[in-house]
């Protein structure tokens, strides 16, 4: 709960404060409404109605502000995903995901509290009904519908709470997992949570049908005794149906995309100004130290290095590989990310450094661009990692045979088993 509060306040402090105040108010007003009905059964109808509507108004304030907070968080994620090429690190992505699930948890906890408030209000309607049998027939259908509504509400809230717990637990496990298994664990957590929502949908349909049957039977009996729904009541009922139908229609695209999330693909690194080399195929190694070559800023696993430092670092990495990466066998591969136009002679010192450190294979990193249709965000451009391997062998082709990084990539893609003499 504390994490839920913190995350809501982190995304939008004033939205979070309003949301939590609304939830607390809904509970307090609901309980007050029930107590007043218990203590003063002869209260005027208008007063009773006002007391009943107040918790609903407070809950609406809570729901609207918290939904706004969640939408803001989601918009932030979508903006990052569609924005400039620099993708967030895995830690930032995890933080976003945890924030989102914690906000939803806050929403579900507030909904449960509002269900308590709603139940109190409905009970407040039951008490005068029990004490005044002459209005029993008129109140009965309303009571059945009210019980149905509260059950629906409670069911949805519990489903949301369970969804958020599963997602939060799953993401918690992901935070401690190897980078190579993160995608799979997140997939599992979200798929399990989606199963819970499917059960909740079935629950909603069953409760709605049962409540409708009970309310219809009671309404028919009341109508036969002369108690009927007046025009304003019908208009109000039509409005509820219209709002529900509009909400349902507006979430069809969301439902479809949720059923078809993006498939796993390793993300590529190539900021806008750099040109990724074109590769004829994608079969490079998937887990290796990465040398990122940019003119005057060469980095090995994000640490700026000279060729000599690169050799030392790679030797150290090789010696401690089993401890650092217990689940990944050492294969002697160095991944190189470089602009296609870069002269191979300028990258050569680092290739030689890797060879000197005992690495026997180069992975030429690139990306494959594809398009994905979605119903909520239109066409998304996806850039997935693509790589080919080149063996480092003194008997291989000389570096001088290739003018640019693209030339080497082209040759490596054209024929498997290309060897390069460092």
């Amino acid at each position: 709960m504390l994490m839920a509060i913190e995350s809501v306040l982190e995304v939008a402090p004033w939205l979070g404060a309003v949301a939590l105040a609304g939830a607390a108010l809904a509970v307090v007003l609901g309980v007050v409404a029930a107590l007043v009905a218990l203590v003063r059964p002869t209260l005027r109808d208008t007063t009773r109605r006002v007391l009943s509507y107040l918790p609903a108004a407070a809950f609406s304030l809570f729901a609207v502000s918290l939904v706004a907070a969640v939408e803001r968080a989601r918009d932030g994620v979508i903006e990052v995903a569609r924005g400039p090429r620099a993708l967030p690190t895995a830690d930032v992505a995890l933080r976003f995901a945890l924030n989102l699930s914690a906000q939803l948890e806050a929403l579900s906890i507030g909904s449960i509290l509002a269900s308590i408030a709603g139940t109190a209000v409905v009970l407040g309607a039951v008490v005068p009904w029990m004490r005044a049998p002459d209005v029993r027939a008129g109140r009965a259908p309303l009571l059945a519908a009210g019980c149905g509504a509260v059950s629906l509400f409670a069911g949805v809230s519990l489903a949301m709470a369970r969804y958020c717990s599963v997602v939060t637990l799953g993401f918690g496990a992901v935070a401690n997992a190897d980078a190579s298994s993160r995608d799979e664990l997140i997939d599992l957590a979200l798929a399990e949570a989606a199963t819970g929502l499917a059960s909740a949908r079935a629950f909603v349909l069953v409760v709605a049908i049962l409540a409708a049957v009970a309310a219809i039977v009671l309404a028919v009996r009341a109508a036969r005794r002369g108690v009927t729904v007046r025009a304003p009541g019908l208009v109000g009922a039509a409005l509820v149906l219209a709002v529900g139908a509009a909400a349902f229609a507006s979430t069809r695209a969301m439902s479809y995309d949720a059923e078809h999330p993006l498939e796993p693909a390793e993300s590529s690194w190539f900021p806008g100004e750099l040109v990724a080399p074109e590769l004829a195929r994608c079969d490079g190694a998937s887990f290796a130290p990465t040398l990122r070559w940019v003119q005057d800023d060469v980095r090995l696993d994000n640490r700026r290095v000279t060729p000599e430092q690169a050799t030392d670092d790679l030797v150290t990495l090789r010696r401690h590989w089993g401890v650092l990466h217990p689940r990944e066998p050492f294969e002697g591969v160095v991944a190189v990310e470089a602009d296609a136009r870069a002269p191979l002679q300028e990258i050569a010192p680092w290739i030689r450094a890797a060879h000197a450190a005992g690495y026997s294979e180069l992975s030429i990193e690139s990306e494959r661009v594809s398009e994905r249709e979605t119903r909520t965000l239109g066409t998304l451009e996806r850039r997935a990692r693509c790589a080919v391997s080149v063996a480092l062998d003194d008997a291989g082709a000389p570096i001088a045979a290739f003018a640019t990084w693209q030339d080497l990539a082209r040759a490596a893609g054209a024929a498997e088993g290309l060897r390069l003499a460092p």
Binding site: R82, A194, R201, V204, A223, G244, D257
Partner: protein, 49 residues
């Protein structure tokens, strides 16, 4: 009596219509809320893939 009987089918129809509309609307709203929550699965897939 016959007058009261003539009004009865209308009263029943109105009561049934009101119940169906209210509970139908609430059920659709509940389903929409669940789909809204579930959309987070797609949003999360944007970052992780």
């Amino acid at each position: 009596m016959s007058g009261a009987g003539d009004h009865e089918p209308t009263a029943v129809a109105r009561s049934v219509a009101a119940v169906v509309m209210v509970l139908g609307g609430l059920a659709l709203l509940a389903l929409a809320a669940l789909d809204w929550v579930g959309y987070s699965r797609f949003v999360a897939s944007l970052l992780w893939r």
